[in-house]
């Protein structure tokens, strides 16, 4: 699998990273090297093997349904740029 420049541009957009057109060929090359390296895994025969997404067979820990968090607005907003006293703010988004 090889990524072309258009795909790299779209990946950058999805990740909200601004990439100059001049940098696209170099990035495509680097990403293709990484993908090529990972593709070696395709040589392993995985027929009949369930995909493994979690290592180990631990049971999901679950929380009790109690309110024991929140009411920490100042902490939550502490690192937010340009916050109002009660809100996060972002440049106007209108769909």
């Amino acid at each position: 699998m090889a990524l072309d420049e258009a795909t790299v541009r779209s990946i950058a957009k999805l990740a909200r990273i601004r990439v100059a057109d001049d940098d696209l060929p170099g990035l495509a090359n680097e990403l293709n090297n990484i993908l090529g390296w990972i593709e070696q895994l395709n040589e392993v025969d995985t027929d009949g093997v369930e995909p493994l997404t979690v290592v180990g067979d631990a049971q999901t820990p679950m929380r009790q349904d109690v309110v024991n968090d929140g009411d920490i607005r100042d902490d939550v907003l502490a690192n937010a740029p340009d916050a109002e006293p009660e809100f996060f703010t972002v440049p106007k988004v209108v769909e």
Binding site: D65, R73, V76, D82, F87, T89, V94
Partner: protein
């Protein structure tokens, strides 16, 4: 009843599937210990997990899982013992993680069915495709500042069930019936409060049209986030006609997301195609899959309440009331319980009539819920009892009911105090009947000459003379006997 749209070259059928987002009833959020209460101060019901601070890890809420399973069982659906949380990646300011934790390939609930009783007496079975759990997003406010959008994360992370129907719905009426039925089931189960105004029940509709008789599925448009049953129905009606117009003009419908504007009654395009979302789902590495045991599911099933369909059948069988009336009474659990208290040991059909017609009229007029009723089930039951045992007539009962609504009080005491007991003493009624006959020789002659409709006039005169207290049936019989 078939809903068809007339096009230039024939009739079109509309095909609708619904995605309903129902907020799960729980104290705390799906993955954090912050409160789910509605209406808190901005950003007060937010934990560091909900704000997606680095290093914070989600832990699933036990009750939310249980509620999702309970809902699945209430929808006659398959419960998947193995389900997986995945990340649905998209970028929006009210989604602090940059992804929504949702379920995709392995939802907790699979296929089920909801049964609709349509007004024309037909029964429609609407398939449920799936139900999965996911997080709600925060709230963006665009009108607080000219250059900025304000974000409140109180809702972010609240547990939702997305309930996806199959494209089985064929008219706005069916959509309305489906939403009302779903809401009723959720409220019976106690898994969602069904409050559309507060946003705990939201609906997206996928709408497409096709020539009548065809089985193809054409391109659909998704109408987002409509917040009342009536608006959903209006939006679908508009959208279906818009699509037929497009095909009539020889064009094709673009797959897109549209918004319904309640003030104009129209839908309009919301996102253009080039910005089509690429969600890049993958299993969330922060969360283990959910593995449930069959015993766990069976235990929840055993504790399910009697649901609307079963209750309706029982009302028809046990109380002998009409299917339509039973349907009205079971729509809300509270109404059904109220009716059962009124009907307890009494004439159930009469009880159903009084709840549906007299009591509902009063409640609707004053905008009250049944649990705020000015007349208790016990008092209304007593009133029904007084009618059934002929202590008062149905007409007098309405007067007594009015007094109960306005001033409260016990119907037996009101009847006693105001002297409203029905006159069932033949002698007393006979006296009045004789008097009326003697005073109106002209009318008597006309009646005997063949104008039998006049019997109503005579009954009215006797009722008037007795202040409405004479037993109408006895008055009728006596008059006919004496006039013949």
């Amino acid at each position: 009843m078939t809903y068809l749209i007339q096009g230039d070259d024939g009739d079109w059928e509309v095909v609708i599937g619904l995605e309903v987002h129902a907020q799960i009833v729980s104290n705390s959020k799906l993955f954090s210990g912050a409160s789910t209460a509605f209406g808190g101060a901005p950003n007060s019901h937010v934990s560091l997990v909900d704000a997606a601070m680095p290093g914070m890890l989600p832990v699933v809420n036990r009750v939310c899982v249980e509620q999702a399973v309970r809902t699945g069982l209430g929808l006659n659906a398959k419960i998947n013992l193995h389900s997986v949380f995945e990340r649905k990646n998209y970028f929006y300011p009210d989604l602090p993680f940059g992804y929504q934790i949702s379920q995709f390939q392995h939802p907790i609930v699979g296929e089920g069915v909801v049964t609709l009783d349509m007004p024309d007496g037909s029964v429609r079975e609407i398939g449920i495709e799936r139900l999965h759990m996911e997080q709600d997003a925060g709230k963006s406010m665009h009108d607080q500042d000219p250059k900025r959008t304000f974000v409140d994360l109180n809702r972010a992370g609240v547990a939702l069930m997305e309930i996806v129907s199959k494209p089985d719905l064929r008219s706005p009426e069916e959509v309305g019936a489906y939403l009302r039925k779903l809401r009723s089931i959720l409220r019976y189960l106690g898994t969602c409060d069904g409050n559309m105004e507060q946003g705990s029940l939201r609906c997206d509709a996928n709408v497409s049209v096709r020539p009548k008789g065809s089985t193809e599925l054409r391109t659909r448009c998704e109408i987002k986030n409509v917040n009342s049953v009536r608006f959903v129905m209006q939006a679908i009606e508009f959208e279906a006609e818009r699509q037929v117009d497009i095909y009539d003009a020889g064009d094709t419908v673009d797959q897109e997301t549209r918004l319904y504007d309640a003030t104009t009654g129209e839908t309009r395009s919301m996102r253009s195609k080039e910005e089509a979302h690429d969600y890049r789902y993958f299993p969330d590495p922060d969360l283990l899959p959910i593995d449930l045991s069959q015993e766990y599911v069976d235990k929840i099933r055993a504790a399910l309440p009697e649901l609307p369909d079963a209750k309706k059948l029982r009302f028809i069988d046990d109380y002998g009331i009409a299917p339509d009336d039973a349907g009205v009474l079971v729509a809300e659990q509270e109404t059904a319980a109220f009716f059962e208290a009124v009907a307890d040991g009494r004439d159930a059909k009469l009880a159903a009539n009084w709840v549906i017609h007299e009591l509902f009229a009063v409640l609707n007029k004053s905008g009250l819920d049944i649990d705020e009723s000015p007349v208790s089930a016990e008092s209304l039951g007593k009133l029904v009892g007084l009618i059934a045992d002929n202590t008062i007539s149905g007409r007098i009962a309405k007067d007594v009911f009015e007094i109960m609504v306005a001033e409260g009080g016990d119907p037996e005491a009101i009847v006693e105090e105001k002297g409203l007991k029905q006159i069932t003493d033949t002698g007393a009624i006979e006296g009045e009947v004789d008097k009326i006959i003697a005073e109106n020789p002209g009318q008597v002659e006309a009646y005997q000459g063949g104008n039998e409709k006049l019997i109503g006039w005579f009954v009215g005169q006797v009722m008037k003379a007795t202040g409405g207290k004479a037993n109408p049936k006895m008055v009728n019989e006596l008059l006919r006997k004496k006039l013949s």
